[in-house]
């Protein structure tokens, strides 16, 4: 960050005073910049996993058609729920910026519920998949050959559970993060700039979880 930071006019709108303006990062706080750097590293981790999936798939001509194994319609519902939760997250932040604590906490609760619904659908999906012969958890599947049935490594199952499970862990973390913000917000008498900043940082993480799922859903379920 630049060493020179200028302070903006001290006049404030509503409940939020103007933070200092850095010439390189504007009004972004250290916490926000830190969260962005974390998200970059996390994004690169997901990118590595998806690239590994893609490479394994390219070199394996017997890769199964995901739409024949996975429940696309159910996952589409989960995807839509996650998109809705992203909307409720920004509406929560907008309400907080206006000083409307009740609306802010309400939208935040809706966002957390959206995340819980997504996790519920994922658990339901996993329960069904692990009982199917194509997607056993330990990565071994029956391959029907002319000479009989052979046990072969199931890279599709391994990469599927690895990537979607890693994302599910992010959703769980995000829900915990949002509930923490909900509790902290409820305990406050009014919404101040510090809390709004924390809420915006939490929102960044939640939107990242949504953004990654958009890519995972397309690359693993649809292609």
């Amino acid at each position: 960050m630049s060493a020179t930071a200028v302070h903006s006019p001290s006049a404030s709108h509503g409940t939020t005073p103007h933070p200092p303006v850095d010439r390189d990062f504007g009004t972004a706080t250290n916490g926000k910049i830190g969260m962005w750097i974390f998200l970059v590293t996390d994004g690169l981790t997901f990118a590595g996993l998806l690239l590994g999936y893609g490479y394994l798939r390219i070199k394996n001509p017997d890769w199964p058609n995901p739409s024949e194994i996975l429940g696309i319609q159910l996952t589409a519902v989960a995807t839509f729920i996650l998109i809705c939760s992203s909307l409720s997250m920004v509406l929560s932040l907008a309400a907080g910026a206006e000083g409307n604590k009740k609306s802010m906490l309400g939208w935040l609760a809706v966002t957390a519920l959206g995340g819980l619904s997504f996790l519920g659908i994922q658990m339901y999906e996993y329960t069904h998949l692990v009982h199917g012969k194509e997607m056993v958890l330990w990565g071994i599947a029956d391959q029907h050959l002319a000479s009989g049935v052979a046990k072969v490594p199931n890279n599709f199952a391994s990469t599927f559970f690895m990537i979607t499970g890693f994302h599910g862990l992010h959703v769980f973390t995000g829900v915990t993060y949002l509930v923490t913000m909900l509790v902290k917000g409820s305990a406050r008498r009014s919404i101040d700039a510090h809390y709004l900043n924390l809420l915006e940082i939490a929102g960044l993480f939640w939107h990242f979880v949504d953004l990654v799922w958009i890519l995972v859903f397309t690359f693993i379920y649809l292609i």
Binding site: T4, G14, D24, A28, L44, I83, L87, H207, L215, I223
Partner: protein, 122 residues
């Protein structure tokens, strides 16, 4: 590094200005919903008409995969720009945020290597 300090209008400021425009949020939400519906429809259309050489679906090989790539990236960009407020951030924060996009370069290299080693996708 930038030589000029951004004004409050150019920098995102939580709680102020145009970053929290609810109309924009609803428009982005609608766009994400529509794009997702198109994405889900594409594999169905490809499955139904993919082998019909006279149909538009067979106009280019692997058309559905290309379309899905474009749509998913478009959705991710919408979330980043409007929900994560990158549109209102300074160029340095935008630059940091776009770094994972370099994975696309690795994907191109891996794709080229796989094409050389295994031939065109079937």
């Amino acid at each position: 590094m930038s030589a000029n300090a951004p004004t409050h209008d150019s920098a995102h400021d939580p709680g102020h200005g145009k970053a929290h425009d609810r109309k924009t949020y609803y428009k982005v939400f609608a766009a994400l919903g529509v794009l997702t519906a198109i994405e889900i429809a594409i594999p169905m259309v490809a499955h139904k008409y993919g082998n019909d050489r006279s149909s538009l679906a067979a106009f280019t090989p692997h058309w559905s995969t290309s379309a899905l790539y474009v749509l998913s990236v478009a959705k991710a960009v919408l979330v980043g720009l409007f929900f994560m407020h990158l549109k209102f951030e300074t160029k340095w924060l935008k630059f940091i945020a776009i770094l994972p996009g370099t994975a696309a370069l690795y994907a191109l290299m891996l794709g080229a290597e796989a094409y050389f080693r295994f031939g065109p996708p079937t």
